[in-house]
Symmetry: C4
Subunit: 435 residues, 4 copies
């Protein structure tokens, strides 16, 4: 009889039986150290009582029996890991077949942690939380805040917390409106019908009789004057906004290092810088070069991140998928270099008077356009060998892009679906303190 | 010994044991209020009996133990929530790792609720249900319906319930036929070979001897006369159909506010409006302008929703995905503005005589065509900087579109698969009343 | 005390307790009819014993308790349904939240049934099975098969069962080779460098002096003579093959109605028909018209289904997805009609001298090319309104195609993955007969 | 009473009851052979004790009851199979509905086995492991390694284990740098602005007075001399690297047969071969032909596999998806042959002076470009029949490519996600030996 060797474990009312030797297989754990001196040993029933989840314990006991740690799939990962911790087991010992289960909820936790920081759709903070944020905690508790300490957080929430009040919402809307107007003006002022020719007198000496006359030169055009005033208004607002936000920001160091604020600052400054330079440049006749600086202002669109949760999620997705994006770009670069080389030599095998592929660097453009299946048709292989390379290139492109994109997509949908799930939950959730 | 503190809970025959203190952790719930005075306390066995699901209870008891509410994954969400309700627990307390489980079945219920309203593939209603729909319930029960009250529902089901009878099916087929003919005529009558030149005498004075003559002017063409009669027949049918449907509709207010009916009405009326205006316009020589109004008639295609479950699902998908579609359009707009600006300035860095990008607004079209990977090739970057921007644009397009589309796709497949599942179930399902 | 009302059900050793009234909730089932007179009632323990799955029973008992039938997700569907059947319950009563679970394994069973019929990768049939197939069962058992009855199945498996023997494999390879040669010849003979001009003397009367002379007319070209002999050889093989296969086929009615055989027959006959007609046509000078008939021969590629499991799966996928394909085509047609109309009128609002959209039917082609993101660029909107329509069209195309395609893809991957799974299992599986 | 026939099985403390006859249904298994003489029979309780997983046993006992083996979905596959093995059951008997569960974890194991061999992100091997790898195990244990035996593994890990030390990382970086420079030089030297015309004196005899003069012929261009020196340096490094790696490689046979090393060798040798041939060719005036050989050097990019885990995974994915890739290419080939034929004849039905489809082989290119949705627009159908074929072709392309690609994508994401999961686990995992 092997009765003496047997041990009864009462886990939450369910009685599990096993051999004592089984429990010794994983040393230095709660179960390997069971003695009858323990409080939870019941001499009457000759059993050890544990107030734990019996269903999960079944899986844990099996780890002792087989020496292999598998995750159960009927409870979620964190619950199982909490049990593992209670029983003194190491969740890293998980079998390879359960690695995915092991990592999936870790990824979920990462996602949730990032979402928490993103501050999407969050509830209005209490006065105390705001005071803590501004470092006025002591004064707040003591109740002797100065007037500025009273006003500062209010202005801050007016400009930085769009959901906090009707005024904040109005300011947010104005801000979005000026961003849109500024970008619209930026785009429209390049349109020919919005440009005014700059008339310049050029003295021309005409031969044979060398009479000097002058003509009007209209080669250079300037944007219509209205755009200047439009942008002036926009920039005035941006200027005021960034100044106020800087003054009332809880942490100026954080404010200055935030990428969105840096973009905002550069874009705003560049406008004034432009005006000054243009004055100087007018004499140097090189005003057009200056326009290239204005490209910075398009980055102002990223200020919308402060107002759009969707854009926040997109940027977080790209951050979280940096590895996969690198992989995608790397695969594409490999592909375009190989296919550009192949098509360059391929198109030269057969006589081909209308060859579009004069050099490999030009072929890179074709290969990329083909691999992304854009296919402008400005360069097309004309010989059978080139066409065969083109066929391979199109096929390789479909595969190359299909492979890493789903990983990025799943990152995005993790962020997106959790944001959606979060927004459906009631905001204040009662929390039971673990004992 | 901790025996006194222990409590036995017999849930559906399975005995769970825990400490009394554990049950007190979540106050104001069924388990925290257990007393021996309860009917389901068995003094003999010293246990409380509950006629509930023991497997799910295991998970619920664990909530008391750990203070964390996790959803089990071996039973479906609604079952678990029913148990939670029985035990007096709040399903909103769910841990973040189980949010998805929590929201998924809520989404499923939304989907099912929408599908119920869509009225796809539904069984033939009984006479009583029809009478209730028309508000004749009392008269129906009393048995003294007037002749009109008898006929009205029959005509209604003939026109609005295509599956109700052979006659209804025939009328539905005729209706679809006329929609197709009307749309076909709309398309074909613009074809050059279907158009007849309008001959007009124009008196021309020829110099030098100023003799007056006339020539035939054929610049304006009209659609072949046959199309007019074709459309006349179609519109006659639509006119009759909408009139009858309006007269016999159970609720005229609902009928008038339904978007499909409004489209139908405008499209039908616009035809007659056109004829009248054309008479007047002939004198004003501006008949062509009128043709633009006819674009309304293409909306007649949406009348097909009444006859196609697939189209109903598509429209519901777009309604349910409004948020994601907005996000997609927003991402695309951000992308095209940024890349149009970049390519505009990029193409001007190197000397580029054949530059296609004369302004940013034109570049927007290129950026969109590239980001959607359509790539017409009517505008193509020609310099290396422009090509680099083009490469980024194509890549960004692939990602931008790939990210929100799967969310929309999953909305569609939720609708579609549930419709498929519904159609496979027997129509009349016996229902056990909960006691 | 409610002890009297309680009932103990011992299912596979696990004791479930419930109230007698609970079991009465669903009438006319095994549990609602329990009496102490039953064999499985144990008066000593006062319990009913059932030798069934206790885990599943827990879920079934819950159906009695709550009146709602949910599928458990820890056992697979068919197992649960078998239990439901034992307990006399109706699986159609399933709650809407579990519909998907309910239908998924039904779809799986359909897939498996279709795969069984497809006859992919099947094991060599025994002589008895072959005899049964040919209807010689009685003679086979009696042992008095005629010589023809011996040979016929052997020839049949030589031609129709490529995996049955080395000879069958050789014949299959030859057959595939001839199909490829025939298709290759079909393609290549249209190439200009493979064509020989047909020289014809044409008598020309030259003016003014009306001297008659003749010139060589080379407008018509014929395929090189070699192709005729190549095709003759191919067709000879196809002719022999189809004849033998017809003669030895187990069921001639089935053979004649099989689509692949009909294609094969028409393609083979059309070749001889062509030769005859060409003789006649030469006098009628209309040989080129005849060439159009030869398009039938390209269908010969479908003969490859007999040799490629992948192609079989593809065709089955399209068959099984007929509904979704119709939906896809319907969505696309709606889309192209709407966008063709919009772009046609849109391009005429602004003055547009290079308008590509002369009529709506031409616009249909543009709309389709844009919606499928092919984007040839042969027709491109040139005005801002047209470009806006184009943007909508491209976006609508991406969505329209993305929505139904995943349903078709999942049909394919269901077929494909089950074929893969099947091929990994040992062929002969021992079957335990249910008692 | 059926008590005598009943049997109690105590599995891990949970008591299961069944009929003895049930256990006899599957002969020659552990449960069908139970006798009271067994050690684990407890005469007191009249039960058999097994120290196994009770939850899984429930499913196994059900196999005896129903004769159908279903996989449970609350434990992972390998755990269930280990239990099956203990109970003496055959996992191949699994029901068709659970085939996917059965094969999925087999695929996972294959993936893990391949990943193990790929040697991605692995920990630094111990000296003993290195010694074993080099076959010096005995000498290592004895402690009498020669100096060369000491140095060889160090040099090897310097060149072949980029993660082993800072030096190894530096060498790896240098190697990647030279690959990039070599490929960049390969691409750039074909650019017109990087080429120097080869000047040659050609003596020309001018008529009428037959005076001989000479002109400079610039038709042939050579790459700028700098590229030669650049490539010389690169090749010197590659030469040294491959030599050292060959000398210190643990197994020279393996080294020589590795595809990456073969490519490396050919690419390196081809450079010197080129120089020699060019000397000879200069006299033969056919230097350009030689350049085609240089295409081999682009394969040098595959040397990056040694440095990029992503590329390793990509190549493994294509290896593991060989079947699906073949299917994809086969589907595409079928498609392009059919649509090329249809469009060729389709475009000839209507009069079509600008027909792009002169022959079927040219149509193949169009069909492929359309099916992959690249759509260059160099060939476009011009007639209505051709456009209809084009529409079908685009649609068929979307489907043909959508169907097999997800299978390949899932192969990639299996490799990728397991690599990611692996990298998140602690490297040294304690292993409990099974008893
Ligand atoms: K294109
Ligand atoms: K394209």
């Amino acid at each position: 009889m092997d009765g003496d060797n047997k041990i009864i474990l009462n886990v939450g009312g369910i009685r599990f039986e096993t051999y004592r030797t089984t429990l010794k297989k994983i040393p230095a754990t709660r179960l390997s150290r069971l003695t009858e001196a323990l409080v939870n040993y019941d001499p009457l029933l000759n059993e050890y009582f544990f107030d734990r989840h019996p269903g999960v314990f079944c899986q844990i006991l099996n780890y002792y029996r087989t020496g292999k740690l598998h995750y159960p799939t009927n409870v979620c990962g964190p619950l199982f890991e909490e049990e593992l911790e209670f029983w003194g087991l190491d969740s890293n010992q998980v079998e390879p077949c359960c690695w995915m289960t092991y990592t999936i909820h870790r990824d979920t936790q990462n996602t949730l942690a990032i979402l928490d920081k993103l501050d999407i759709d969050s509830e209005k903070p209490t006065d105390e939380e705001i005071a803590r944020k501004f470092g006025y905690e002591e004064e707040f508790v003591a109740g002797n805040l100065t007037t500025w300490q009273h006003i500062k957080p209010r202005i801050w929430s007016l400009f930085d917390e769009p959901g906090s009040s009707a005024g904040a919402k109005a300011i947010s809307t104005i801000s979005v409106f000026f961003i849109c107007v500024s970008v619209l003006s930026f785009c429209l002022k390049t349109h020919p019908s919005m440009r005014v020719p700059v008339l310049k007198n050029i003295t021309v000496t005409r031969y044979p009789n060398a009479t000097k006359s002058w003509i009007l030169d209209k080669t250079r055009t300037d944007a219509h004057e209205a755009f200047f005033y439009l942008e002036l208004v926009c920039n005035a607002w941006f200027c005021i906004e960034i100044l106020i936000r800087f003054i009332v920001s809880p942490s100026r160091r954080k404010f200055v290092t935030s990428p969105v604020n840096i973009i905002d600052f550069i874009a705003t400054v560049s406008f004034y810088f432009d005006i000054i330079l243009q004055e100087i440049a007018q004499r140097m006749n090189e005003a057009e070069i200056l326009e290239f600086f204005s490209i910075i202002r398009i980055l102002r669109l990223f200020k919308l991140t402060r107002h759009s949760p969707g854009l926040k999620i997109l940027i977080q997705t790209f951050k979280a998928s940096a590895k996969e994006l690198t992989l995608l770009v790397f695969f594409l670069m490999l592909g375009i270099v190989i296919f550009a080389s192949l098509v360059y030599y391929g198109e030269r095998i057969q006589p081909n008077p209308k060859n579009d592929f004069k050099s490999i660097p030009e072929g890179l453009w074709w290969a990329l356009v083909t691999m992304t299946t854009v296919g402008y048709g400005d360069m097309v292989p004309k010989t059978y060998v080139g066409m065969f390379v083109g066929a391979l290139c199109a096929l390789a492109g479909v595969l190359t892009i299909s492979l890493p994109v789903p990983v990025i997509v799943s990152n995005f949908s993790m962020f997106y679906s959790h944001t959606q799930a979060r927004s459906k939950l009631p905001k204040k959730r009662r929390r039971v303190l673990p004992v």
